[in-house]
Symmetry: none
């Protein structure tokens, strides 16, 4: 079976997504990663529409791309003009991109009502624009916009448009579900009819699919098209794109290679998918989706006790693929539905010697469950979990002890608040009292604790608190409700998370903070001793 | 064609998602909303596994559900025991839920390798458990776990398990793609074969589908099953669930009703889908996904220019359905027209006379946009929105003014924290200074403000703070991150919500509190005057 070519449009259609915009340098760094992983086409933007995209093509022309063809995007010429005079088409030529994507209309609604054009002139626009690009020696990908909507309304005309494109020498014709409203069954039917029709006219052009996710079906529609003859899939990394996004290549690629037996990028590059996904979300400054298929942080996370037990015997019992294939890994979460086997597995993972028989493990599991009923959630707080397991097994060595703290927040009329914390801790019998300010009470407490500990332990500068979350466990008690505070911390080579629960938000924050510093200090001490 | 029954498992399988946990009260409030919208089954949890789920069934038994059958979930009896002695099955009976879901094994890997059971005993477990439930008069939904994986490995045995379930009187058999690794084409093929096989044995049991999203195909797999004969769809609101989540009912329902012509919930309830999606994400304290199909904030967002122009001529040019059908609305991004008309619309809704010309409305829209960029979210805080509009139009009458407050939280060793607040306010030129304690700093501040205001305004006892939520807007700054505090308050006949944003959580809480009391006092005054 023929290879499926991967056509990435993260830089063009992906950047139509709300809150997404890349600089031309960022575009280049994404393009390089896409090339590395073995993508076949990289659509770099619309050089006729803005300076940033034009600049990207300048930068790209100087780079050597190994696998990918850089592709410039633009629409057919304007009605009743000459293609050679069209500034937008000229910009495509000037971009020096070896491939160009020409988008044209398939739907009579757009041709007649929106553009107020004629059907015949629309066909001429398609023909002329493609001919011009072929005359300039470009590979031409023709994007048939709104093809499926157009086909539903006037199948004959929609077919005429792609026939015109194929006859004019387009190397590929992409059927686009621009509004994202088509179901996979209809994608299959229409694809099959178009493929047959073009073959019957002796126009065996390469066919492709461009799907949007407005019905949550962009991946399904893409693979349905592949099954019915498409050999190009257009999509974006992480499915970024306008409205509900485009088809997510990060999901489609492993489905093609691992589940459908269709070659796309080389198999040995699949393990880079997770990093690529992460790189693009970081560049776009969007929070990575934990639940993203294949590459998300939760994609191979297991919660239930029974599940964990089963996975130890046979991973495929609860994993549809080996997570390492796509660069991901298994995670075991602690949860109120878990049991003894979770505790044993987790202790091993965290390097805590339980040294307990079945009965003790059961007792620990029960105590964890009680805490979780109170609002603790250890599946997201490995740091606190480790400390808790050490406490249960009497292996916990406190590296500092709280004597007292006092946090004060003051506000005068409409002036901003000020926050101060005073803290007294003891380390090996030596007391230290100090104070600090902060952006709010928790920040002040964090700063004061850090300052007090610095006296005894060097090296805390490398530790940073990178995430802070507050969840009111049951808001119905109003301001007296219980809150859960979650803190994520990191140093040069590690990342850990801790948790605290209390009716008092400062106390909950204190517990999470104290665990975080305790975890870091214990780690430092182990390294020194080891 | 037969109606498709919607089986919601947000409360059970959905809460297996990382970072998701509901209190039993929250479970009940979600269940009520699900019932309202016309869902047919609400799986409330696993009463045999934990106290919280058991409590939910107690609460649910006291409620009147109009449309939905409350369903309790549990597994088949343990191997080589009596069903009547099984504590887990007993818990299902004790739950008093009118319907029960019994999950059993279909895959020989699980039966033999994981459970170390025999094939025959597994069949007996299925038979006995279902028979017991039928003897107790329950409707029985049989969940065939790992059905598709099992069928791939040993089709004959997988079929035997569901045949056993159907013969024992199960009212419905659900084929589960537990690991989420199956493609829609295979779902269709297997579904068709199972349906034929059961029909040939004269066992015309109702069939259903339970899909997971590990390949981004849960929605596609669900509708593929419906197309091949499934008339129950199990899924969760927003697709919450373990790993990559379950099938998203918020997407599936409008596809069934609007695109496949299959009745599920009543058509006139579709417009509640957006609010339901939002309610569940707020209750789970998860950020709503802007790109969520149908209901996301971006689902019908159009960037300015050609698209907007086209939409003014014919909305279907770029919208696959009318957004109002699912309770959503079109958004035009970066368009001054959009912002301004929103403000006018909202002011009218809140009863604020803007009395401003176009230019002023534009200025207000811009200022609101600036605040929203800083983290305010006025769509969930009508109380604060009203006060803000009054401030902008110089109609705001402050009914108290803050002179100063000081909040102190103290902790000594492992004693619980204590929190005190001192506050000084002015009402009509009269100062009042007072102090109060509380469960945490915000509670202390709330109590102190209430005490100080009581001196000037009677009737505040009727006002209660019923919900309090904290969201860290960008956690990356650690403990110095900005937080948004949301407060919901009510009195005998009204409910209102207010919001505050600051890097200091106490200051953010203060703004939300102050708005809430201001809103209440203004309302009281209007009533007295009116």
């Amino acid at each position: 079976m023929e290879k499926v070519l991967i056509y990435d449009t993260t830089l063009r259609d992906g950047s139509q997504g709300e809150n997404i915009s890349f600089s031309s340098d960022e575009m280049l760094s994404i393009a390089k990663r896409l090339d590395q992983i073995g993508v076949h086409y990289i659509e770099g933007g619309w050089p006729g529409s803005n300076a940033r995209d034009a600049r990207f093509f300048e930068l790209a022309a100087r780079e050597g791309f190994v696998n990918a063809r850089i592709t410039a995007f633009g629409s057919t010429r304007k009605p009743f003009t000459e293609a050679a005079d069209d500034r937008n088409l000229q910009a495509l030529i000037d971009s020096r991109a070896p491939a160009v994507a020409i988008v044209g209309k398939s739907w009579t609604l757009h041709v007649e009502q929106i553009m107020e054009n004629t059907r015949e002139e629309n066909l001429a626009m398609i023909r002329d624009s493609i001919t011009l690009m072929k005359d300039h020696g470009r590979e031409v990908i023709y994007d048939a916009e709104h093809f499926f909507d157009g086909y539903r309304e006037d199948a004959a005309y929609a077919l005429e448009t792609v026939t015109a494109a194929a006859r004019s020498g387009a190397d590929a014709v992409i059927l686009c579900d621009t509004n994202g409203g088509t179901l996979p069954f209809d994608i299959e039917t229409v694809f099959d009819q178009v493929r047959r029709s073009l073959a019957a006219q002796d126009l065996p052009v390469r066919l492709g699919i461009h799907a949007h996710n407005d019905c949550g079906l962009a991946v399904a529609n893409s693979i349905a098209a592949v099954r019915t003859g498409a050999t190009i899939v257009q999509g974006t990394i992480n499915g970024y794109g306008e409205r509900c996004g485009n088809a997510d290549l990060i999901t489609i690629i492993p489905i093609l290679n691992l589940k459908m037996g269709r070659a796309s990028i080389p198999d040995d590059r699949l393990a880079q998918l997770k990093i690529l996904s992460r790189f693009v979300s970081e560049t776009a400054n969007l929070v990575p989706l934990n639940s993203r298929p294949f590459v998300g942080r939760s994609a191979f996370a297991h919660k239930g006790g029974l599940h964990v037990n089963a996975i130890m015997k046979a991973p495929r019992a609860y994993e549809h693929i080996d997570p390492a294939r796509v660069g991901n890994k298994r995670r075991v979460l602690m949860s109120d539905l878990g049991g003894k086997s979770n505790v044993v597995y987790k202790a091993k993972e965290l390097g805590v010697e339980l040294g307990c028989n079945g009965l003790d493990c059961q007792r620990i599991a029960t105590e964890i469950k009680t805490l979780e009923d109170q609002g603790y959630q250890f599946d997201v707080a490995d740091g606190s979990m480790k400390i808790l397991l050490q406490k249960f097994t009497e292996q916990f060595k406190p590296l500092f002890e709280l004597q007292s703290f006092r946090v004060t927040v003051e506000k005068n009329q409409s002036q901003p608040c000020t926050a101060q914390a005073t803290i007294k801790i003891a380390v090996d019998g030596n007391d230290e009292i100090t104070a600090a300010e902060g952006d709010g009470p928790v920040s002040a407490l964090d700063n004061a604790l850090r300052k007090a500990l610095a006296k005894f332990y060097p090296g805390l500068e490398a530790m940073r608190l990178v995430d802070f979350k507050v969840r009111v466990i049951d808001g119905r008690e109003g301001t007296a409700a219980r809150v859960r505070v979650f803190i994520e911390s990191r140093d040069h080579n590690d990342i850990w998370s801790t948790i605290g629960v209390s009716e008092d938000i400062i106390e909950a924050s204190w517990h999470a903070l104290a665990d975080s510093f305790q975890y870091k200090l214990a780690k430092q001490q182990e390294q020194t001793e080891g």
